[in-house]
């Protein structure tokens, strides 16, 4: 589900652009910028093609803060519409589990 960015009053979903990265580098991004700061264990991630996001009439804002960071934007404001779109994106995403051994 998207979150409301109160500073700019738009709904957005934080993502990282991973094109061209190997698996190890992708997990480092997750540890460094997602799970690590929260003190949590990173178990997996969801990968989705940018083309699928754009096909659903959403946009991608590449702010690169931190490097490779982006936000999925253009979400509708009604919650039920957000849920529906989120389900469609999730259905197209691929779950990748981390090898924690």
């Amino acid at each position: 589900m998207p979150a409301l960015n109160k500073n700019i009053s738009i709904f957005q979903t934080s993502v990282f652009h991973i094109n061209g990265l190997d698996e190890a580098s992708i997990w480092v991004i997750g540890e460094t910028h997602v799970a690590g700061p929260l003190g949590k264990t990173l178990y997996g991630r969801g990968d989705i093609l940018a083309a699928v996001v754009e096909e659903k009439k959403l946009g991608i804002d590449y702010d690169n803060t931190p490097p490779r960071h982006a936000n999925i934007i253009g979400w509708p404001t009604e919650k039920h519409e957000q849920k529906s779109l989120a389900q469609e994106l999730a259905a197209e995403a691929k779950l990748k589990l981390r090898d924690l051994v």
């Binding site: 589900m1 409301l4 919650k79 849920k83």
Partner: protein
């Protein structure tokens, strides 16, 4: 459909259509006694409330996700407990989570494209959405006043009667 409404209300079924037969078979499977006594009505409710409690613990502070998510809304919690208590017995316990806006969310997922989810606002407004195949979806809002709205039970029936 007569069969669906009657089963959910505990009365005898009188449906004769193919849909009614399919639903009857599905519901009979769900009515089979659980091997574990703890999964009776009390056990179900306890499990659901424990899931809500776990979600509360996860979202107990603002910014619990690192992206500015709100902590759980106390009034949404109040409605959430009543919602799970009001679910038909034949419906499995959903996954419980807290949305970034602090509302409780209940999700049933059978496959990537077979999913139904309901979020509950602090004012008792249900926002629901479901995917029932490649080009079949539903979404909308309903008021929650102690009983599960028909739009929600209809979509739950649709989810659990679909071929996975």
């Amino acid at each position: 459909m007569v069969a669906r409404a009657d089963f959910l209300n505990g009365f005898a079924d009188s449906g004769l259509s193919e849909d009614a037969k399919t639903l009857r078979n599905l519901l009979c499977e769900m009515f089979k006694p659980s091997p574990s006594p703890s999964m009776g009505l009390e056990g179900r409710l306890r499990e659901a409330l424990e899931a809500i409690e776990t979600a509360c613990a996860e979202a107990s502070e603002d910014n619990w996700d690192g992206y500015g998510a709100r902590k759980f809304q106390p009034d949404s919690l109040k409605h959430a407990k009543i919602f799970v208590s009001a679910l038909p017995r034949v419906i499995p316990i959903p996954e419980v989570s807290v949305d970034p806006d602090g509302e409780f969310s209940f999700t049933w997922q059978r496959a990537p494209r077979l999913v139904f989810s309901v979020s509950i606002s602090k004012d008792g407004v249900l926002s629901y959405a479901g995917l029932f195949g490649r080009n079949k979806k539903a979404h909308g809002t309903e008021d929650f006043i102690q009983t599960i709205p028909k739009a929600v039970t209809d979509n739950l029936e649709r989810l659990f009667s679909a071929e996975a």
